[in-house]
């Protein structure tokens, strides 16, 4: 187990280094000088100022040197300074990460509780009216674009009914509800369908039939044998989905003006504010590899047949 962990962490470092290098190279080949003009304007910067800024950000150095400097600073927790406001990237992204995480946690709880719960009930009451309704609604929701749900909810609850403000405050827990539901609805529908499917499969398995034949109480069969075995693919799905959510949800964050890293990323790309772009992307890769590891470890806990080696 220890050696496995060590090896996986080693792999993670390699993946992270590779990903940041590719990112750096991509940003480097984008034409246009990121500090050549004023932010969002066509006014040229004074050549002297451009030169000073090139020096300040190391843009006068070759790609590989820039990358080396970046990684060297990154391991010390320094993500550099952004191009427009000239503030430390870590200071800019910190509160945004918190906001994105709040949204991601709320959405994933919604996913897991509502999605999995509905799926379990549908599987247990197979072919009932309840099952049909769930199948119908989830099918419709899966086909719904996020922005439609978001815009409809914002217009209804904020603009028309005025239950919540249009311009929300991420520090108010009540205001996470709308964006979290927007973000989770489609995923929850997928989770419900996945849960229903795997559960039905497990219910037909021989060991479940055996347990029932041996007279094990239904409650125990369901909890110990059925649920535990059918939850594995759902855990994988939710884990990966959580990783995606932590990487920022551009559409939802944009509609609800939720100051997260998805919004930061979209703005930074438009402004060619590369330190922010690299910072967010590095975070995205990091969170993804870490969550992959966590999911793999969870697997082993849930299914004793899986051995980590």
């Amino acid at each position: 187990m220890g050696r496995y962990l060590l090896r996986r962490i080693g792999q993670m470092v390699v993946v992270l280094l590779g990903a940041t290098l590719i990112l750096f190279a991509c940003l480097f080949v984008i034409p246009g000088d990121p500090v050549g003009s004023l932010a969002g304007s066509e006014r040229s910067r004074d050549p002297a100022v451009v030169e000073a800024l090139h020096k300040r950000y190391g843009l006068d150095k070759p790609l590989i040197v820039q990358y080396g400097t970046y990684v060297g600073k990154l391991v010390q927790g320094d993500m550099g300074e952004d191009y427009t406001q000239r503030r430390p990237v870590a200071e800019i992204l910190g509160p945004k990460l918190v906001n994105t995480s709040k949204l991601a946690v709320a959405a994933i709880v919604f996913d897991a509780v509502i999605g999995a719960g509905v799926g379990v009930l549908a599987a247990l009451k197979r072919y009932s009216i309840w099952d049909t309704v769930v199948t119908l609604i989830t099918t419709i929701l899966v086909g719904f674009p996020t922005f439609v749900i978001g815009m409809l909810m914002l217009n209804l609850f904020a603009v028309q009914l005025k239950w919540v403000p249009v311009i929300g405050d991420p520090s108010d827990p009540a205001q996470v509800v709308l964006p979290a539901i927007t973000l989770a609805v489609i995923d929850a529908a997928l989770v419900a369908r996945l849960m229903r499917g795997t559960m039905l499969e497990v219910l037909r398995a021989d060991y479940v039939k055996t347990a029932i034949a041996k007279g094990v109480p239904r409650r125990e069969v369901l909890l110990k044998h059925v649920l535990r075995n059918s939850v594995i693919p759902v855990v994988t799905y939710i884990g990966i989905s959580f990783g995606g959510l932590l990487g920022g949800a551009i559409i939802t964050e944009t509609i609800f003006n939720w100051d997260g890293i998805g919004m930061a990323m979209s703005t930074a790309i438009q402004q060619q504010n590369n330190p922010i772009v690299v910072g967010v992307a590095t975070w995205g890769v990091a969170i993804f590899v870490v969550l992959n590891l966590v999911v793999d470890l969870l697997y082993a806990m849930l299914d004793p047949r899986i051995r980590l080696s």
Binding site: G32, A39, G40, V166, N257, Q270
Partner: protein
């Protein structure tokens, strides 16, 4: 890969957001709203909190304030020597007089005595010198310090060989003497820019992060706590203000995502959360019908111009006949009504109508009305034959697609040109315009920092604004079309050397006539039409200023 897919999704989302929003309101016919005027002379009552949304500014510390959002905050925190009304008329603010010597190499400003910053420190000449020096210092790497470039000693500050501003001196606490290295008879107009603000001792150097986020100023308002980045900025009335005090208790500024800020502002206004808002283009007609009759609709042609930037030193638009042909071939009126639904107007000059005294309606003769025959004749003369390839670059993400397509189609229909449209990100476009392999024409726009025609004509068209890099031959200035005409340059020089304002305006008008009317160095297209909704039911004296911001210092409760 990640980048492209993210960008695509942003674009899809933005479009979709707009589309859905556009559908969510019922249709309505547009009728004329006009400016609310009834409220302008209402009795003033102190108190109240005014709320609005902006996008995150680059800076609110005057050393680096650049876009209209930063200016909104900084102009309410700081009061400099002069102020400018919505028609571009300058007047004294803290200055009591502003005079120059005969050749305009020296300016003397008398400053109102006994005024203070909100922390009690005196606003004297030293405070002005401190502010200007701080912005021009090398380490500041300020984006706006170039507005100070005429002052003697600016170069030395910029290259780090000096720490004091040689050209500035203070014979006494209320007299500021400015020696210019580049003579300018309208230097006083520049002092309207926020980079000319006074700062207290507490400001320290430009890199002082505490002050950057919570500047202490001498304006009608002061900060209530530091700038909460990407979240909000709160201003409260400065009761120590030296001039006419503000009436509002507080101004709450929410910071919105730049991708859909106008949408969020308008939704916030509809929900009663904001008192002033921009609107998404798609909803202008419906909003005008709704808010126009209630006197809550603001619609004006602002200080700015949309135009085509032809590359004048090489390529198909090298000759003025070719540029004139292109200009004559464009049916601006059709685009104004078809694409802009009348919310922008046909431009007939480069210097916009917002500059009341200098504006010359129709100085761009080719702009006034499409003339296919003239266009064809000029094209033939210029060798701009049917089938000629004409590059047309524009920046994506600015909603320019529809009118760019329309212009290209008109050029194709009238002149038979093979117009090659390319949409690329903004910085990439600017880079492309600057390189010495640039060709064809580009979409462009400009707004003036201070109310002089010179602030359009000089940066965009003077030879000295090309700034060709001797090594790469790329342009580094704002004259990217690289128009160069000694007669035009001479007129500009004559203008800045003319003390009489009316006389100077005339010279600028001659210069514009030469560069735009005759040489067609730029091809004006549309005015900078601006629309806002404002809660005039609750607020009196609510209007817009030269920088397109609400007049916070004048607003009062009804």
């Amino acid at each position: 890969m990640r980048l492209t897919s993210t960008m695509r999704w942003t674009a899809v989302a933005a479009t979709a957001v707009l589309a859905v929003a556009a559908c969510s309101n019922g249709g309505g016919s547009s009728n004329d709203g006009g400016k609310p005027t009834a409220s302008d002379n209402a009795p003033t009552k102190d108190g109240g909190t005014f709320r609005l949304g902006i996008v995150e500014p680059t800076a609110i510390d005057p050393y680096n304030v650049q876009e209209s959002e930063g200016t909104l905050v900084a102009q309410n925190l700081f009061t400099g020597l002069t102020s400018v009304d919505v028609n571009g008329k300058i007047s004294n603010a803290l200055a009591e007089s502003r005079t120059s010597n005969d050749d305009c190499s020296q300016w003397t400003f008398k400053i109102k005595g006994g005024t203070t910053f909100s922390n009690g420190e005196a606003v004297d000449t030293a405070a002005f010198i401190r502010g200007w020096t701080r912005a021009a210092a090398k380490d500041a790497a300020s984006d706006v310090a170039y507005h100070l470039n005429e002052i003697d000693g600016f170069k030395e500050l910029q290259d780090g060989s000096a720490t004091a501003f040689k050209g500035l001196s203070a014979p006494d606490a209320t007299t500021l003497v400015v020696n210019l290295a580049i003579k300018d008879c309208e230097f006083d107009l520049r002092t309207f820019h926020t980079v000319f603000s006074p700062v207290p001792k507490e400001a320290g150097p430009a890199g002082n992060k505490t002050y950057n986020d919570q500047p202490i100023g001498n304006g009608p308002f002061k900060m209530e706590g530091p700038w909460q980045h990407n979240s909000k900025i709160t201003l409260v009335r400065n009761d120590k203000y030296a001039l006419a005090k503000a009436h509002l208790d507080r101004v709450e500024i929410s910071i919105l995502n730049s991708a859909n800020a106008d949408q969020l502002e308008y939704q916030g206004f509809q929900a009663g959360q904001f008192d002033w808002a921009r609107l998404p283009t798609e909803q202008l007609s419906v909003a005008k019908a709704t808010y126009g009759p209630k006197n809550e609709w603001f619609d004006w042609d602002a200080n700015g111009m949309n135009y085509l930037l032809p590359i004048t030193y090489q390529g198909p638009l090298k000759s003025k006949e070719a540029r004139l042909a292109v200009s004559y071939a464009i049916d601006r009126d059709a685009i104004v009504s078809g694409v802009f639904k009348g919310f922008r107007h046909t431009a007939t000059s480069l210097v916009p109508p917002a500059f009341k005294d200098a504006f010359q309606d129709g100085v761009c003769a080719s702009c006034v009305k499409q003339d296919k025959e003239k266009a064809k004749a000029l094209a033939a003369q210029a060798g701009l034959t049917p089938g000629t390839k004409l590059y047309f670059g524009y920046n994506t993400g600015g909603g320019h697609e529809a009118w760019v397509q329309a212009v290209a189609q008109q050029l194709k229909d009238v002149l038979g040109l093979d117009v090659q449209i390319e949409g690329i990100p903004f910085k990439e476009l600017l880079k492309k315009e600057n390189t010495n392999s640039a060709t064809g024409m580009y979409r462009a726009a400009w707004g003036a920092d201070y109310p002089t025609p010179g602030n359009f004509l000089a940066p965009l068209l003077a030879t000295s604004s090309i700034g060709e890099d001797p090594a790469t031959h790329d342009a580094t200035g704002d004259n990217r079309g690289r128009y160069s005409n000694p007669a035009f340059d001479a007129l500009l020089q004559k203008a800045t050397a003319t003390k009489d304002i009316a006389e100077r305006t005339k010279i600028y008008q001659q210069a514009e006539k030469l560069a735009i009317g005759e040489d067609q160095a730029l091809i004006p297209l549309f005015t900078r039409g601006q629309q806002r909704v404002g809660n005039t039911e609750k607020w009196a004296n609510l209007t817009y200023d030269f920088n397109e911001n609400p007049s916070l210092a004048k607003v009062s409760q009804k």
